[in-house]
């Protein structure tokens, strides 16, 4: 079965985000004074073959923890869709 996983990676709240702060301050200087916080993250699309959804989740968790995410400063969550040839 072919699956597509969308892994969303966020910086932990305790970690300062200099890029997000730079974007926020640019937006404020453009006149969007109401923008209070920007946090940048990553969204990674993973296309994979797996026997079933349980195996798919196992693989996605493993590659997230081993490679995609740095657990020192990031957290992740993901959603999975069956690929229907969209």
């Amino acid at each position: 079965m072919k699956y597509v996983a969308y892994v969303n990676i966020k910086l932990k709240q305790s970690v300062l985000d200099p890029q997000g702060e730079a974007v926020r301050s640019a937006l404020v200087s453009m006149g969007y004074g109401g923008v209070q916080e920007i946090r940048l993250g990553k969204r990674i699309r993973v296309e994979l073959e797996a026997a079933n959804e349980a195996e798919c989740r196992e693989i996605v968790d493993e590659i997230s923890q081993r490679v995609l995410v740095n657990p020192n400063m990031e957290t992740y969550e993901y959603e999975i869709r069956e690929e229907s040839g969209e």
Binding site: L16, P18, E21, A22, N70, N72
Partner: protein, 237 residues
């Protein structure tokens, strides 16, 4: 005394390391990241640069290069390993050193000369320095903003694992002397046994007076002395 310089795709300080280390009087050899042997080397250097284009996170992909298993074994044998800049980031991603690097606090790439204070002489790379020595070295990085959880940070401090701190010319680790937002001005750390060291400044660019300074030479001279003395981690210090 032979230093092995590991070359990843995207390393760009490998030749600087060769030139700097040879200027300090030692032999060097390049080790391609797809090789798996580090035989014949007394010390390994992971040089600076942008391995794999810094894709995903700096060092995140290079840590899976075939050579890294041998680097880990070399390290667990107590032999000296030095990561400089991107090499430091690779050692962090590989879990050979604790913590992580964030983007610089000011978001800019910093290319400058800075001062660092030697915090520990108990590593192979600082054994010829005295604690409190102030070195002037170049930095060149976009992600040198060191981060670790408070309990890890406490362990680094109590275990003597902070090797270098950014400081002013008087040797004070003032916040204004911190170029990138690193926690507690940390510019370099070591593992618990002291033989694996990661630093953001580039000592290999400060080995010849004609290039602006020679404060980096003793990093490599220390390693040679340490190897020559047959000092093993866990003894002395």
């Amino acid at each position: 005394m032979k230093f092995g310089i590991i070359v990843f795709p995207g390393s760009n300080c490998d030749k600087d390391c060769r030139t700097g280390i040879e200027a300090a009087g030692f032999d060097t050899g390049f080790i391609w990241h797809r090789d798996t042997s580090v035989a014949g080397y007394d010390c390994l250097v992971l040089p600076g640069g942008f391995s794999y284009g810094d894709y995903l996170r700096p060092g995140a992909i290079a840590r899976f290069s075939p050579i890294m298993d041998s680097v880990a074994r070399f390290a667990s044998d107590g032999k000296p390993v030095l990561g400089i800049g991107n090499g430091f980031q690779i050692l962090l991603e590989a879990g050979l050193l604790p913590g992580a690097m964030r983007r610089n606090a000011g978001t800019r790439f910093i290319c400058d000369w800075i001062n660092v204070r030697v915090e520990s002489e108990g590593t192979p790379f600082t054994s010829l320095y005295a604690e409190g020595d102030v070195l002037t070295l170049p930095v060149a990085h976009g992600s040198g903003n060191y981060f670790a959880h408070p309990d890890v940070l406490a362990q680094l401090n109590t275990g003597g694992q902070v090797v270098l701190r950014y400081c002013n010319e008087l040797g004070e680790a003032a916040s204004r002397a911190n170029p990138n937002g690193s926690l507690e001005n940390i510019a370099g750390i070591c593992n618990e046994t002291g033989n694996v060291v990661g630093i953001m400044p580039h000592p290999e660019r400060a080995c010849e007076a004609i290039l602006g300074g020679t404060d980096g030479r003793r990093i490599f001279e220390s390693a040679a002395e340490w190897v020559r003395g047959g000092v093993r981690v866990g003894q002395g210090a």
